[in-house]
Subunit: 410 residues, 2 copies
């Protein structure tokens, strides 16, 4: 059996995915069953291309570097959006990966990512098993979208939720200054699941009622109802803030976004402009001052306002991922199981990868308000602990001090 | 002579304007020559409408409330965009304001704001003087745009600059993850002056070269040159980040933004979409992956990442504003004069309001790189101290704990 470990990251950025890498690295460095720890650059593509870097050398057990890695946004090792072909159709990628595993004497492969990445873990672990190779293939979850099955929530979600809630509160302060009816539309990420948009509700506190309306893709969006909702809110509030998911669809099933027809290479629709479409509706049908704001990529990379809970959990899930691998577990993903909301407590466990891959977890129907324009108390209870706590970042010359690969390795 | 003081806020939001209010309040509360401190809601309109609130009662010298006020974004007292008519044309507003001054026994009127607000200070102070009223009218500067004359910089600018630099750094991390040529356009506020856009340069550090290109409204924007600049940068860098001001204009003087023809009620052009226009240019002329991001209002209201230098200076300028008023100074604005860059040192002084009002300070020509697509070392030296230091905010339930008027006063 091999003596080395390989880790890679994949999918879209979050501010917690490097914390999972740090967790894997810390546990792997401490194990006397692991010798070298390689990182593949740009996910599974880095394995296929043989672009591996020696993490045991460039970071190793250096506490300061591990701490910096833990709070750095996006992927230290880079990412890819590459899916393995069905093995029956084309096994060449699989054979190439096994060749690399043998070349580097790999006994453990850890893949940190979302839905598409877990598809890779699923396919690869069953191929490796079939070939009789002794390589543990373990997935570690991450996605701001929070749409992975079998886990209470996913690392990255809590920090994005904290950014969204904080930004909506600050936008509410910004909007309230003029003594005139105003509507502000805040467009939030989420193709098919409204978890991120729901997090806007956490902006509410003892004085702030914004967002006054929340529209998630789990419910069909009806323009007439929206106009009616906004008019009603404007009767009681001079300033109305609307949180809307980029992925809302009409009752006919087409994206509200004008750009809803373009697709990325996985066939996922590329969305933008939903907020702008709603802004136009308010302008023409209501006629008051209106502005739309797209939170854009900052909601997934603004590590300066990460949730401490999220980053710590991502780190512990990384450690647990390595521990499962060391126990010889394969074809699994580490998960969080919630034990209680308050005091907040979770257990770190495992799920069979075939139960996870290629499913999208949506918001339960009862967590959305009956009218489809808000969330319920269950949703608030669910999100509340995930955005708790702040990260103490170091700053150099007024900006956060993060870590990159090019810092350390030429 | 009156015994009371009146303060109001005006113009667009910043994260430092409430720090100036807190500074005025603290000094006024300590003075035995001031009895009551009123705040007018929604700027000069609140004076005209007689909507005054007793700040000495609802905040007073409460240290905890003053601290919270100091770090709260946007305007605690609300804002307006109302300019006084020329007195020769219509003196009715002026007479109404003087009536309110007499009704509330006002000896000091402090107005915190930007260019348009300083026009009000200028007109009102000369009217009051002409009428022989003993009311000191003093302006306190604020604007994220940093375009006020006679002061080294304006409160609000440093925090917006810190937000922009931090966001551009985080966007650079987010962009770097995929192994493919990518251009990201970051659209930053600034109608006629490029100060905010220039601040993107502060994102550069020992490993990050983004933004690779910076376009400011002080130089005409040429599409061919832009395409050429981007192509050139793509030769050396896989990921090119471009910072662009919303207000860039073509050599013919028309806004690059597609929405450049709309105007607000002061005749200022309302801009949006410059980033989107550049995105389309890159898509069609270069053809690589491209995205545009509009930082939008968050750059002026994201108090969770305020610059400590900025907030402390805004507070001290508020105190100085009240001190000048107590000395009987009128028709002035408080200013910062820079004594040295490193160690950073400023003096708080005054300027005659007629030298300030209705001018826009642009970036000196020599602070822009020769090719018009970057800033010079002088600009970096100028901005560096302004983004230094962080604010320790309190958080409740995972979001910042700010202060609003409705908290305290029903």
């Amino acid at each position: 059996m091999g003596k080395n470990c390989l880790v890679a990251q994949s999918g879209g950025p979050t501010t917690a995915i490097n914390a999972s890498l740090a967790g894997i690295l810390e546990t792997a460095m401490k194990s006397d069953r692991i010798d070298k720890i390689y990182g593949a650059l740009n996910g599974i593509q880095g394995v296929l291309n043989d672009t591996l870097i020696p993490l045991h050398e460039i970071i190793g057990s250096d506490h300061k570097l591990l701490q910096k890695l833990k709070v750095t946004p996006a992927m230290f090792l880079g990412s890819c959006r590459y899916m393995l072909a069905d093995v029956e159709r084309d096994a060449s990628d699989y054979d190439r990966i096994c060749e690399i595993f043998e070349k580097y004497d790999i006994a453990y492969f850890f893949y940190i990512g979302g839905n598409d990445s877990m598809d890779t873990v699923s396919k690869l672990s069953s191929y490796v098993k079939k070939k009789g190779l002794e390589v543990a293939v373990v997935g570690c979850p991450k996605t701001v979208d929070n749409d992975l099955k079998c886990t209470d929530h996913t690392p990255g979600y809590g920090s994005a939720a904290k950014y969204i809630a904080t930004s909506v509160l600050e936008i509410a302060h910004d909007t309230a200054i003029y003594d005139m009816p105003t509507v502000v539309i805040v467009e939030i990420m989420g193709r098919n699941a409204g978890w991120l948009t729901a997090a806007a509700a956490m902006a509410r506190n003892e004085y702030n009622l914004a967002p006054h309306l929340i529209y998630m893709p789990e419910r069909a969006f009806e323009t007439e109802r929206f106009v009616c909702d906004v008019k009603k809110k404007l009767k009681d509030h001079k300033h109305v803030i609307v949180a809307v998911s980029e992925g809302i669809k009409s009752t006919e099933g087409s994206y509200v976004s004008a750009q809803g027809t373009k697709t990325d290479k996985f066939g996922h629709a590329i969305l933008s402009g939903t907020g702008a479409v709603l802004e136009e509706i308010v302008k023409h049908r209501i006629g008051c001052k209106v502005r739309s704001i797209e939170l854009n990529v900052l909601q997934r990379c603004a590590a300066h306002i990460s949730s401490r809970t999220d980053v710590e959990e991502a780190f512990l899930l990384g450690k647990k991922t390595a521990e499962f691998g060391l126990l010889g577990e394969t074809g699994i993903m580490t998960v969080c199981r919630r034990i209680s909301d308050s005091p907040y407590e979770v257990a770190y466990e495992k799920a069979c990868i075939t139960d996870v891959a290629n499913f999208e977890k949506k918001i339960p129907d009862s967590w959305i308000a009956e009218d489809g324009n808000d969330v319920s108390e269950e949703m608030l209870r669910y999100i509340r602990p995930l955005i708790e706590g702040e990260i103490q970042l170091s700053y150099v010359n007024g900006i956060p001090d993060y870590l990159t690969f090019s810092h350390l390795y030429k």
